[in-house]
Structures are given as structure tokens and as C-alpha cells.
Amino acid sequence: MIELENIHRTFQVGEQSVHALNNINLTINKGEYVSIMGPSGSGKSTLLNVIALLDQPSSGIYSLNNQIVTQLDDNQLAQVRRENIGFVFQFFHLIARYSAAENIEIPMILAGVPIQERKQRVADALLAVDLQQRATHRPDQLSGGQIQRVAIARAMIMQPQILLADEPTGNLDSKSGEGIIELLENLNQKQTTLVMITHDEALGSRAQRIIRLIDGKIV
């Protein structure tokens, strides 16, 4: 479902240009569990951002569900993101003034889901990440592991086919990290495509496929 062909991504920093992605060819099938590994600065996040449609490749073709998405305009990209892709970040990115439930609700607000349905789905999502008791807590009243579970609930609330995670455990202790990984793998078992960046060999090897990047190239 995810097909990348000859993807390049270069950044221009003053006079210098950085070749963050160098001719990436990659296909990820529906329901697959892929981990991306590689040294720091090798282009992992850049790749994930391209897959997430947050970033546009400098050249190459990206097709998602057989539709070429490299040509889409900003609004269309937003819609595709909203409907197909869930994202979990290393630094959680919850809105501090919102409660756990409200943070989970945001994607549905953006999509214009009716209020009644929203409440029900948020309640289900909280149950799924085992945070029913924490619905009204704000991020500063939650632990790191809980915050990341809220973020996962938020990523899954629109029931995307693809879940992307950029070092989801990077800021957690190993025990909470373990819980998060189990949660993500559970989702994968329910046919969600999971792509995860990690630095941890043990975590990475749990995936069906490991993609290794060095200097923007797949090795």
C-alpha cells in the first residue's frame, strides 16, 4: 500500500545541501510491521515524515493505496493524513491545556465528527489504552507512559490504516516503553500497518522487517 520510488530529499542549509534521503525505493504492504533503524542523522525521521505526508520529497514518486500523493495540494494532503495516517511522536505533543479525553478528540474535531459520536469513540479509545480513570487529567498530571498512551489513542481515533511512530519509547523508561510497544503491536495484529523508528535493536528485531538507513540510503 505504501510505495516509494526513487525518493530523494535534500535540504538546503545556506550554501550547503544535505542529502537526507538518497534514492529510497520501498514498498510496505497492508498490515505489515516494519521498523526503521540507523544511526542518528541517517534520515529516519525524514523518511517517516515523507511517508506521513508531513514532508514532500524533493523528487521521486510516492503512492499510497495506488494513488500518487506527490502531486496533491495542501488541503488534499491534510485530508489524506486525517483519514489514513496516525502518528506517534517521541515528544508526545499533547496540548497542555486540554485533558486526555480532549486531546484524543482533536482529530475528530478537525474531521467534523458529530459530538455524540465523538464522546462514545473517545470513551472506547480510553478503554483501549486503559486510561478510563484519567479522562479528565491534563498532560502535566499524567506520567510519560500515560501521556504516550493518550497519544496512541489519539493516533488511532480516526482508525487509520497506517500507524507511524518516531521513537515512541525514546523518552520513556524501559517498563513503560514495553507497555507502549505491546499496545502498538496489538494494533498491528488488528491489520494496522505499523512503521516504527527505534534505536533499540531488541525492539527493532520484533518487527517482521527491519529497514536500515545509513546516510539516507537503505542498506
Partner: protein, 401 residues
């Protein structure tokens, strides 16, 4: 995205910064309040003056002797003319059937006295019609009787100030008064007009026009006040009057006709222009408040960069982000405008209590335009920061801490 969600998002965002919000509301409300108050003052003054002018009479035409050809110059307000405007001229005007009443007026100053108290006052000579034409009312006694205008009766009607000064607590009606060297019997006392523009009837003695002419040894009239039967008849009456006078003055067009309408309109226009000018100067402050809104929105956008990145990653479109930040700006301005209108209203109420005689009036359109202006201000000044937010690159925005 639904409207209530947009509103609630913006409201939540604003709520986290109470001090900032209060200051913006303060700034905006100062501007809105001053525009509101100044507009209200101008409007009230305009209405007050127009009203005052209208209460001077209805369908009034003033005939002045003399005419100048300078365009746009003032009418000959108190100049003399070789050919007088006479009582006979005034009476001849009855030939027009658009005219309901005619009050010839002659004016001069003379000393008046009772029992050794003497002072100089303005003497106004007219006929019984003056009461009707100028809407005068009496507190005691009668006005000049309906009689031949050429008869110099020795009777007078005095204003309230003169009554107080010359007769104090005593009954004035029936008493005698000396005007220069003639004796006049007081037959009535005018009701005080309070604050009034133009002529101060409180400080005046009204005598029959023929008596006044005898007193000042003149045949000429100062003015003729004419009341027409209807508003529509006014312009016909103006034509009739010119025609009649011209005939009587050997074909010479030597009077100036001023309609009450034109005077009222002139004042109306002048005061409306003044109000507009003052209100526009005050609304410079709205622009300043708008700049503040813009500045604070820019700060907000900068501080919430990561949040904007997140919203984009979660699938928010450019339009949605633009809308969110514009709503925020509009909310801030609107809150300020509401406070400002309220503040203006309170100030006007306080003014009304301190000056009960002057009717303060805040037009409804002023309130609505204040609110509308604040919204427009917010949209104009909010658009740049909101655009910046909408146009952010999600990846860079997300990585900004």
C-alpha cells in the same frame, strides 16, 4: 470542523492567558468606548440643536431686509436698507394663501424702570401672532391681544428674568413699567424657556410692534416671521413672498428669505460632519488597538508553533488553522468591543445624571457599528499572524520546542 468546536478551541486558547487578554480588552475597550461616547455626544448635540431649532416654530420662513449677491456668504443679519421692510409689507403677505400667520418683528434696546430700578433690555415689537409663530407660552396673564398692528398700545409682556429682577416676588401682571419715557402696563409674563439657542426671551420685553416703532422712531422692521400652512406650502410661500415684496418695492428684489428648514439642515450637516470627524480621529485608537491584537496574535502563533505542527500532522487544513487563529483574534476584539460599549454606556449614564437637562442618546447603529468595526479590525490585523500559522511547515513546527 464545526463552529462550536472552533469557538471552544479559541476560547480555551485565550483562557490560558488571562492577563494578556485583559490588557487587550482594555486597549480595545478604550478605543471603542471613546468612539461610542464621542459619537453619542455628537449625535446628542445634533439632535438637541435640531430640536431646539424646530421648537422655534413650525414651517417657519424668516424675511430679512436686504440681500447680498456674494455666493455662499452670510445673509444680511442686521444691516439696514434704504427701503424699509414695513408693517404694510408684512400685512400684504396675507395675500398668499399658503401663509398661516405673520409676525412682524422690530427690535431695539431701551432702558426700562420701575420704582427707581433701571436697566437696559432688548425690546421686541411684534403682534399677537408672534406667540403662535414662535411657540411662546405664558406663565402669567395674557400675550399681546389680537388688534390692529398699527395701534401703539401701551402694554407689554415681560420675560422671566426681567420679572424676577424688577418685581422679585411680587405679582407683575397689572403693574406699570417705564420703557424709556413711556409707561407700559404688564399684561403677561413669559414662561422661562430655560437653555435656549438664539434669542433669549427671558431677558426681553415684548410690546406691540407699533409701540416699538414709535419708541425707536423708525418705520422699519427687523424681520418678518412667517408661518406657512403646511410644509409642502413652504416653497410656494417663499415664491409668493418674494413676488409680493417685489411688487411693493417697485420691482426690486431686496429681501432675503431664510427657511427654517435650510437653517436646520445647515446645522444638521455641520454637526454631523463634526461628529464624523471627531469619531474618525478617535477611531485611530482602534487601529492602534488592532495593531496590539496583531502583535499578541503573533506572539500566540510563535508560542504555539509546536501545537500548530501537531494540528497539521493530525490532518488540519490550512483553512482550518487560519480560521482558528482568526476566531481567536475576533474573540479578543469582540470582548473588548462589548466592554467598550458597556463602558461608553455607563459613562453616558453618569453624564446624564450630572447633566439632566441635556438628553444624551446613544444611537443603536453606533453600538452595532462599534461591534462590527472591532470585528473587522480583528480580521484585518489577525489575518497576517493567522496566515503565518496556516502556512507553517508541519515538520519544522513540530520540532520547535
Amino acid at each position: 470542523m464545526m463552529i462550536q468546536d472552533t469557538l471552544s478551541y479559541s476560547y480555551m486558547a485565550i483562557k490560558t492567558q488571562p492577563i494578556r487578554v485583559m490588557l487587550i480588552i482594555l486597549a480595545m475597550s478604550i478605543g471603542i468606548a471613546s468612539v461610542t461616547i464621542l459619537t453619542a455626544l455628537g449625535e446628542s448635540a445634533r439632535l438637541y440643536i435640531v430640536n431646539e431649532f424646530q421648537s422655534l416654530g413650525t414651517n417657519l420662513i424668516i424675511v430679512l431686509p436686504g440681500r447680498t449677491e456674494t455666493t455662499g456668504g452670510q445673509p444680511p443679519l442686521f444691516g439696514a436698507t434704504p427701503r424699509d421692510l414695513t408693517l404694510a409689507d408684512a400685512e400684504a403677505l396675507y395675500r398668499s394663501h399658503h401663509i398661516a400667520a405673520i409676525a412682524p418683528v422690530s427690535v431695539g434696546a431701551a432702558p426700562i424702570s420701575t420704582k427707581g430700578l433701571e436697566r437696559e433690555v432688548t425690546i421686541l415689537g411684534s403682534t399677537s401672532a408672534l406667540r403662535r409663530v414662535r411657540h411662546l407660552s405664558l406663565s402669567k396673564g395674557h400675550f399681546l391681544p389680537e388688534s390692529d398692528a398699527n395701534k401703539a398700545l401701551s402694554i407689554c409682556v415681560i420675560g422671566q428674568t426681567i420679572k424676577d429682577e424688577l418685581f422679585a416676588q411680587q405679582q407683575a401682571v397689572g403693574k406699570w413699567l417705564r420703557i424709556n419715557d413711556r409707561r407700559f402696563r404688564v399684561i403677561g409674563v413669559l414662561e422661562s424657556e430655560g437653555q435656549s439657542i438664539g434669542v433669549d426671551f427671558d431677558d426681553m420685553v415684548i410690546v406691540p410692534v407699533a409701540s416699538a416703532q414709535a419708541l425707536f422712531n423708525t418705520q422699519s422692521l427687523f424681520r418678518i416671521l412667517v408661518e406657512t400652512k403646511s410644509k409642502q406650502g413652504m416653497y410656494k410661500a417663499v415664491d409668493d413672498i418674494s413676488e409680493i415684496i417685489k411688487q411693493r418695492h417697485e420691482g426690486e428684489d431686496d429681501v432675503t428669505l431664510v427657511t427654517q428648514d435650510s437653517v436646520v439642515n445647515t446645522f444638521d450637516e455641520i454637526l454631523a460632519a463634526v461628529t464624523l470627524t471627531v469619531a474618525s480621529i478617535a477611531s485611530i485608537s482602534l487601529a492602534v488597538a488592532g495593531i496590539l491584537v496583531m502583535n499578541v496574535m503573533w506572539v500566540s502563533v510563535a508560542q504555539r508553533t509546536a501545537e500548530i505542527g501537531l494540528l497539521k500532522a493530525l490532518g488540519a487544513t490550512k483553512g482550518q488553522i487560519l480560521c482558528l487563529f482568526l476566531t481567536e483574534a475576533a474573540m479578543l476584539s469582540f470582548a473588548g468591543a462589548l466592554t467598550g460599549v458597556l463602558l461608553g454606556k455607563i459613562t453616558l449614564m453618569a453624564l446624564q445624571i450630572s447633566y439632566p437637562d441635556f438628553p444624551f442618546y446613544l444611537p443603536v447603529w453606533a453600538i452595532f457599528s462599534a461591534l462590527a468595526v472591532s470585528l473587522v479590525t480583528a480580521l484585518i490585523f489577525g489575518v497576517l499572524p493567522a496566515k503565518q500559522a496556516a502556512g507553517m511547515n508541519p515538520v519544522t513546527a513540530l520540532n520547535k520546542r
